[in-house]
């Protein structure tokens, strides 16, 4: 019997958000949309028990009542009513919690599901069909329940009758000609090239047998771009040409990663780096007890299809990376960086198949919010950038930091260890099964195999607590997360040096019908793999039981250097570890054509007051407090500076500063550098400037370069395009050049390639984007500096040189000017600027400090003033410059390695002495009048109240702030 419980609010309110979305879709007239939560329960218990469940669990009696009916529909729904539920196989977290609570009540039900009921007024049937999938549900994960199909249903078991009967599948490849090999790769979604297929063919020819589907899938997964980073680790034939096409540089690069980023780290050879490019995250020293680790991932493609699920599983995945570092680290802070399309594109201009940017933005922010908040990990810093090219391919970077005891920083695997899988059960999530050719897929399997997942943060929170308790009792010696490739890559990588044997039938499943291969390659969320000793099992089981986390022994470490998989004692895979891990190297061509630079004249100046306000209003600069406020950025109590803060007003910080351990004065500063727009001129400087920006964040908040470590996250277009790959090579060169120059090592990184999409046969590639994430260890939180002006009458210094470098700047892009030079870092002074400023801060000579970035000096001065309730007067004549620089350049140029610093009058001489011979100018002072005045000679080129600047700064996202 199926019972349906509708939750009725005592006062019905229209859903304002849906209303505004409907309006966006261009539907006129009075529209009223109301919604209700609906629970569906299948049970053979008396109705009185169902009433008990409803009363005790489902309603808040102060504000809600309920209505109990039998069947999914007791009568046909009206034409203006729809009922939406998840597709089969998509995780219904609320239903899982409900099942747990029903068990608490000592009642037994067979199944529970949730649904959402909507009722529309003022919309035609046609309107509803048009509006619903655009606003209320995503067909990839949800569907409208069809009355005719479900009216007679008496079970909620969507997988009834789908038992799996074992049948070993082998593929004939040893005799296959080339075209057949390629066909096998393509039809199985293996993404293996002909060369790779031939290497596999040779291997099996030697074994004198054909591979099973599972063996092919294993190789395909471990050799995939995602797991193996084929482009970065392969061979690149790189050519650099001048603008006439003459080759000026030629290089054969064997492993771009090793030749640039890892090489820099090796050369810097910092004794503070504990484990780099080795584990699931980079590990560095923190204090005498603990180390810190940091990892950033991208989840671009999933977020473009299902923004909420994509972003939540993105943050969930990177948290597991931290949990899977060494012998498990405790995650303590997260960051996120998004690149979206501007959201004002009309719905009718949206290319078919793409989600509207508003929906992407809303879903991604909610996804990160719900997952991070539930995990109790503060999301402390981030950045959001907008460009039209992100329309079909938004970028979603999620990063997490962890802390772990020094002695837990490495894994130790021994033969005889048990292989343990813990956390969520396994479903078909993320399986692109090799066993199905696309022709054989029926409708239900399509829905299942392509299921985009929604994360279950509470499951991950439970797993985290259980694992950390087990770690502290030394109950396991090695751990890793299940990410891409699921247990196939997790177990194989962890046990690769020894050999493992796994019984796939032991893996706990969400539902029946999974084949052995699906079990092996499923990417179900919230699972971890660890290796433990038999003697510790009883204690492990007790901890996991108390934390309510499933734990299963699925295999053992053998020592035979083979990967052996069994399903009910049938051998379904036996591969040599050596074969799996010796990746074939593929060659790609890359080319970069150098652009000639011009020597631009200073820009003509217009209305600078208006220009400044326009900049403060631009989406990239405008205040995004509405995002940060949705994140619980203070949970854990470690918050020292918040990226945006305030009680009544709003203030900005240079970087988030967090104490990972409340028993230690030490803290970490997290800086982020990203600016894809410079890529349009030269990816080399784009990358260098991202590093400079992250360093500016760190130094201006009180960090020092010699305790700073960085991560690289490339999001790039297709490496099969020579020019795009050429750009990637240039960016990597810059990473090497500036990492070694600043002596700041890379400790971890990741690349996401093929970020492109097609609109009307036109390929659109995202601008090459590098996110540099920096973490800096600070001796004491007391040394932290913020941008807010502190004191009337104090002095303002501008450090660093301003040049005519407005190319791709916010100022130029706002005026649609596509010329200009990209900013460049002055290698003869940048390092000294960073270090001498750090010294001055260390000596307590600095009251406030803020770096100059998008929008230049004018925006920086505005932000410092808006953060404080004080004003400032600045003299442009005192700005240190080089070359042809006018008022516009002084105000808005984005030349790197510059800071605006507030210094107490009494510290003037000490401060100037501390700066030494770096370029600086005493440019102005802080005033008690809330007015920003910037003078060119005697003329006030900017003269505006701080309030009007604040109005401009907060105007752009007003709608996001209050209406949503």
């Amino acid at each position: 019997m199926i019972y349906r419980i509708d939750i009725l609010p005592k006062t019905e309110v229209a859903t304002a958000k849906i209303f505004s979305q409907v309006k966006d879709l261009g539907i006129a007239g009075d529209v009223f949309v109301s919604s209700r939560k609906v629970y569906l329960i299948e049970a053979d218990i008396p109705e009185s028990d169902i009433n008990l469940i409803a009363k005790d669990l489902l309603i808040d009696p102060v504000v809600e009542s309920y209505q109990l009916t039998k069947g999914i529909f007791s009568e046909p729904p009206d034409q203006n009513q729809i009922l939406i539920t998840y597709n089969p196989g998509v995780c219904d977290n609320i239903a899982l919690s409900l099942s747990k609570a029903i068990k608490d009540l000592s009642l037994t039900v067979k199944a529970a599901r949730t649904a959402k009921f909507y009722q529309f007024q003022g919309l035609t049937l046609e309107d509803i069909d048009y509006v619903a999938p655009k606003t209320l549900f995503n067909p990839l994960i949800e569907h409208i329940l069809d009355y005719e199909k479900v009216k007679d249903l008496d079970t909620l078991d969507e997988f009834a009758g789908m038992d799996y009967e074992f049948k070993l599948i082998t593929l004939d490849i040893i005799n296959a000609p080339d075209d057949k090999l390629l066909e096998i790769s393509e039809s199985g979604c293996l993404s293996l090239s002909l060369d790779e297929m031939k290497i596999i063919q040779d291997y099996f020819k030697k074994l004198n047998r054909n591979p099973t589907d599972c063996e092919l899938e294993t190789v395909a997964t471990l050799w995939s771009e995602h797991c193996a980073h084929k482009t970065f680790r392969g061979i690149i034939n790189y050519q650099e040409k001048d603008s006439c096409g003459k080759i000026i540089k030629e290089e054969k690069i064997d492993n771009l990663l090793k030749a640039t980023i890892m090489k820099a780290t090796r050369e810097i050879n910092s004794s503070d780096c504990v484990s780099v490019f080795d584990d699931n995250s980079g590990v560095v020293k923190f204090d005498d007890k603990n180390n810190i680790c940091f990892k950033v991932e991208t989840h671009n493609h999933p977020s473009s299809l299902e923004p909420y699920g994509g972003a939540s599983t993105g943050i969930g995945g990177v948290i597991r990376d931290i949990l899977g570092t060494g012998c498990a680290a405790r995650p303590f802070a997260s960051i996120d960086v998004f690149c979206f399309s501007p959201w004002d594109i009309p719905y009718h201009d949206l290319p078919h198949g793409l989600l509207h940017p508003k929906r992407v933005i809303d879903g991604v922010v909610r996804g990160v919010r719900d997952y991070g908040n539930r995990m109790g990990i503060p999301t402390v810093a981030g950045s959001v950038l907008f460009d039209e090219r992100f329309l079909g391919n938004p970028l979603v970077y999620c990063g997490t930091l962890g802390i772990l005891p020094k002695e837990k920083s490495f894994k130790k695997v021994e033969s005889g260890d048990l292989v343990i899988l813990c956390g969520a059960k396994t479903g078909r999530d993320g399986v692109h099964g090799a066993t199905f050719s696309s022709k054989e897929l029926d409708e239900q399997t399509v829905a299942l195999t392509s299921a985009v997942q929604i994360g279950n943060a509470i499951e991950e929170k439970k797993v985290t607590e259980a694992i950390l308790r087990a770690r502290d009792k030394n109950l396991f010696d090695a751990i890793t997360d299940c990410g891409a490739g699921g247990i196939s890559s997790a177990i194989t990588e962890l046990g690769g040096e020894h050999g493992v044997k796994v019984d796939l039938d032991k893996v706990p499943l969400k539902y029946r019908g999974l084949t052995y291969t699906e079990i092996w390659i499923s990417e179900s969320q919230e699972r971890m793999v660890f290796f433990a000793k038999e003697k510790d099992m009883a204690e492990l089981e007790a901890i996991f039981k108390e934390e309510d986390v499933e734990l299963t022994v699925v295999g053992e470490v053998t020592g035979d250097h083979k990967l052996t998989l069994l399903y009910n004692e049938n051998k379904v895979c036996e591969l040599d570890m050596d074969f799996i891990f010796i990746l074939p190297k593929l060659a790609k061509d890359a080319v970069w054509v150098k652009q000639e630079e011009s020597l631009p004249e200073p820009e003509e100046r217009g209305d600078c007051n208006q220009d400044l306000k326009d900049l403060l209003k631009s989406p990239n600069i405008a205040c995004k407090d509405w995002i940060l406020r949705q994140y619980d950025h203070e949970v854990g109590g470690g918050s020292v500076t918040k990226s945006i803060y305030g009680v009544e007003s709003l203030s900005v910080a240079n970087a988030a500063v967090v104490r990972p351990d409340l028993n230690s004065e030490k803290c970490v500063t997290i800086g982020l550098g990203i600016n894809p727009f410079y890529s349009d001129i030269d990816p080399y400087w784009m990358a260098a400037l991202a590093i400079d920006e992250a360093m500016r964040n760190v130094v201006s908040s009180g960090g020092k370069l010699n305790k700073t470590y960085i991560l690289d996250n490339f999001s790039w277009g297709s490496p099969l395009d020579q020019k795009i790959l050429g750009g990637l090579v240039r960016a990597s060169y810059a990473c090497y050049d500036f990492s070694t120059y600043l002596k700041v090592p890379f400790i971890s990184g990741k690349d996401s390639l093929y970020n492109e999409y097609t609109v009307k046969d036109k390929r659109i590639s995202i601008p090459g984007t590098l996110l540099i994430s920096a973490v800096s260890i600070m001796e004491s939180w007391r040394k932290t500096i913020t941008p807010a002006f502190k004191k009337e009458g104090s002095l303002l210094y501008l450090i660093g040189v301003t040049k005519n470098e407005l190319g791709a700047s916010e100022y130029f892009r706002g005026k649609n000017i596509t010329t200009g030079n990209v900013p460049k870092i002055e290698k003869d002074s940048a390092l000294t600027i960073f270090n001498n400023l750090s010294q001055a801060i260390e000596k307590g000579l600095v009251l406030a400090c803020h770096d100059l970035s998008e929008g230049g000096l004018a925006v920086t001065a505005s932000e410092m003033a808006m953060s404080s309730g004080l004003g400032a007067t600045i003299f442009l004549s005192e700005v240190p410059v080089k070359g042809a620089v006018g008022v516009v350049e002084r105000l808005f140029s984005e030349s790197p390695t510059r800071f605006l610093v507030e210094v107490d009058q009494s510290k003037k001489n000490d401060f100037q002495r501390a700066l030494g011979d770096i370029p600086f100018g005493l440019v102005g002072c802080v005033s008690s009048v809330e007015q920003l005045i910037i003078l060119d000679g005697e003329e006030k080129v900017i003269d505006t109240s701080i309030n009007s600047l604040r109005d401009a700064w907060t105007a752009r996202f007003k709608k996001f702030r209050f209406d949503q």
Partner: protein, 251 residues
Amino acid sequence: MKPRALIFRTAGINCDKESVHAFEMAGADVDLFHINYLKEKEIISNYQILCIPGGFSYGDDLGAGKILSLEFSLWFKDQLHKFIDKGGLVIGICNGFQVMVKMGILPDVDFSQKVTLTENDSARFETRWVYLKVENTSSAWLKGLANIIALPIAHGEGKFYTDKENLVRIESNNRVAFRYVDRCGSPVGYPLNPNGSLGGIAGITDASGRILGLMPHPERFVFKHQHPFWMSEDHVPFGLQMFKNAVKYFE
């Protein structure tokens, strides 16, 4: 002897560690236990102070604090009754407050729900610092606090709501612990009243003042640096004062 504090946790509770830290700073002897451990034991009476910390117990999937409130009622009802009768102190912070009102130990210890904390008027989760007027200054938790204090909130379901009769009773019986106000102490709307709570109520006590539930997070203001303006202004960590009050009560 230090008073003993017991902090509960379960799946999704996530402010447990900073709550432990706050009580330890205040001088309590603290134990943190999973309720699955406690439900098999009868040890609540070994403590003087109980704390249900913040978080998203069971994801708040059936409403904030709903499932955990059921488990408290099912597993600890008698022990809680005895503990409260004996004169112990109880605090519920954020999710803990939601659990307390839903199991019915606030505003009265009778295990029936009279008030609720429901979805914010803004219909979304928000983190911000707010000003609070301390109302029930006779409560053991609130003695000696400044008239107006600042604490952070972080919740999606914090709107205090009840019927007229209960509201009058709570107001007239001095059960209001805190009210959202502006910096001068006057009643205020969004965003300083971050959720649309009736009467700006941010926290309530029982008749004895020993049981306190509040949406703001006192455990997040025990260090100076946690205040947004610690570098420009000098603020007493008000949260720590509350935990110290609890410890002092037993000294």
